[in-house]
């Protein structure tokens, strides 16, 4: 995902004198060894096991049998699965641009130095990130409630009847609002940090050339933080496909709107823990993982190509 940066930095390395490198060739392993060991246990082993599981099927008669790619074939024609993928894709297409757009605008506003009380803004907008997704979903869930939430209050106060945010039609947008609320500040901070390391000489040069604020943004700031934009986009894509906590919590409040196959993650969870279909669940999870990686990879390629 962030390979471009990594490769860039890795390429810098051979510039170092080669002598000490040869002398201490294995020393680095002493430091990275513990990470790699735990990583192998909690990432690589489950991943391999997941692939293994996906090739078998647990049948009532005959026990566990090797079925090759049958599970994958089943997943490809599973309408429940594709409906959930479609739902998170819609979520991704709408929520992520809104969230990143707001985050970018706030970051640019902070960076412009034109705000009163800048530090207060920066820290306040970031605060929701420190709120656990469970708490955020519970809070918003209560506020959405027409009975004793804010929506109900507004209805009573203004004598209107706002649509129920937890109705099947609106619940995806309501989840989008929760996720946006949680992560606007986090993304804003990523963008803002990237903006702050732009060399000031560039702005001075632009000013001498008579460039306006808007031009400085499009010609200097945005290109300079492209890497951060791409990283934030990729993290958001992964986040969208992994959507679980928010719909899972809201399910208590809106059981009719949020089904057990609402997102791919909810689907794998219910397959595995309610349906006892662990082999198929592993297959679905792998397919979602592959879709996520392909999309993230395409975004990275496109984002980086613009820079070249």
């Amino acid at each position: 995902m962030t390979t471009l940066h990594l490769q860039g930095a890795a390429k810098r390395r051979p510039a170092r004198p080669p002598a000490p490198r040869n002398r201490r060739s294995w020393t680095g392993w002493g430091f990275i060894g513990p990470f790699v060991a735990v990583f192998a246990l909690v990432f690589l082993a489950p991943l391999a096991y997941s692939v293994y599981l996906s090739l078998f099927r647990d049948q009532l008669i005959g026990g566990t049998t090797f079925v090759g790619l049958d599970n994958y074939q089943q997943a490809l024609t599973d309408s429940q699965f594709w409906a959930s993928v479609g739902r998170v894709s819609l979520f991704l297409a709408v929520q992520v641009p809104i969230m990143l757009g707001i985050a970018l605008l706030v970051a640019l506003a902070l960076d412009s130095g034109r705000l009163y009380g800048k530090d207060f803004f920066r820290i306040s907008v970031f605060l929701p990130y420190a709120v656990p997704a469970v708490v955020a979903s519970l809070m918003w869930g209560f506020m959405y409630g027409t009975r004793f939430g804010l929506v109900g209050d507004i209805n009573d106060a203004l004598g209107v009847s706002l649509p129920d945010p937890l109705s099947p039609d609106l619940v995806l947008a309501s989840i989008g609002n929760i996720v946006t609320w949680e992560f606007v500040g986090y993304n804003m901070l990523i963008f803002y940090s990237a903006l702050r390391v732009i060399p000031h000489s560039l702005y001075e040069a632009a000013e001498i050339d008579g460039a306006g604020q808007l031009r400085v943004i499009t010609a200097i700031k945005l290109p300079a933080i492209r890497g951060a934009l791409v990283i934030a986009t990729i993290f958001s894509i992964i986040g969208s496909f992994q959507l679980f906590n928010e719909p899972s919590i809201l399910q208590n409040l809106a059981p009719n709107a949020i089904t057990t196959d609402y997102t791919p993650n909810l689907y794998t969870y219910s397959l595995s823990f309610s349906g006892q279909q662990q082999n198929y669940s592993a297959t679905v999870a792998i397919v979602v993982g592959l879709i996520t990686m392909v999309i993230a990879y395409v975004v990275q390629l496109r984002g980086m190509r613009k820079g070249a």
Partner: protein, 322 residues
Amino acid sequence: MNGPSSPVTTAPPTVPAPARSPGAAPRLRTPRVRASRRHTAGRPRRSVLLTVLTGLVLLYSLVPLLWLVISATKTQEGLAGSFGLWFSGDFALWDNISTTFTYDDGVFTRWFLNTLLYVVVGAGGATFLAVLGGYALAKFAFPGKRAVFAVVIGAVAVPGTALAVPTFLMFSKMGLTDTPWAVLIPSLISPFGLYLMWVFATEAIPTELMEAARIDGASEVRTFFQVALPLLAPGTVTVLLFTMVATWNNYFLPLIMLKDPDWYPLTLGLDSWNAQAATAGGDPVFHLVITGSLITVVPLIAAFLLLQKYWQSGLAAGSVKE
């Protein structure tokens, strides 16, 4: 939002600007001298309009938190019967807090301590491993380094659920499910933390300093602890905070791994209290869910506020520098 796009001002830069709508700003060419003077002064004119527009995002961020604080002061009846963004007559905050901690034999206290355990061991361990690993990647050339990069960074894109089910089955065979280990061990890995520390260590530790320590006869371990670690402090605090958030907020993993409520973290506990109202004959405790939520949020917000100087400089210097 970037409405005041004309940076050109007619007033001298040092004079505080009166509020003016951006449309009214005449588009004049700035004399060069003034332009450069303004920048050396480093004080662009503040804009009321921009502040107000950004203020909308600020309100969006803070109002739900305000709602949480206000709601935590209400009794269960008050919650249903009063306007959400104002206090009801009875101020029940202290009562709610003590009930939260004592309800159901003080199970919330137990969840709080569990969460602390998961955060101290999980986030602390994850940070330590990330610092060690990032240091190795930044400052040493070793066989297989590129492979480590590729695998670790590639793994960030793997969805948690692709791993959750097989991890559960593996841990279940190892007899680790329904024990704190099932939550702690996976928390020890933070690929993002490793990446951040790697970039940060590249910037923060001069190789010459390490060479000097070695020439003086310091061992690699000593060089790490006495030379590198102090220089890595801002990056370490940043990684620590982000792994803390990840561990404190963890829900999916404990949900899968734990059945025994005695090992629940706060997030899972709150969820179970909330679900209680939906079960037949369950006791609805919405006021405790809300007060418990507030208690869950406060420590992390406090940590961010207290340590903001460190983590923000760590983030700016390390994570996203191009």
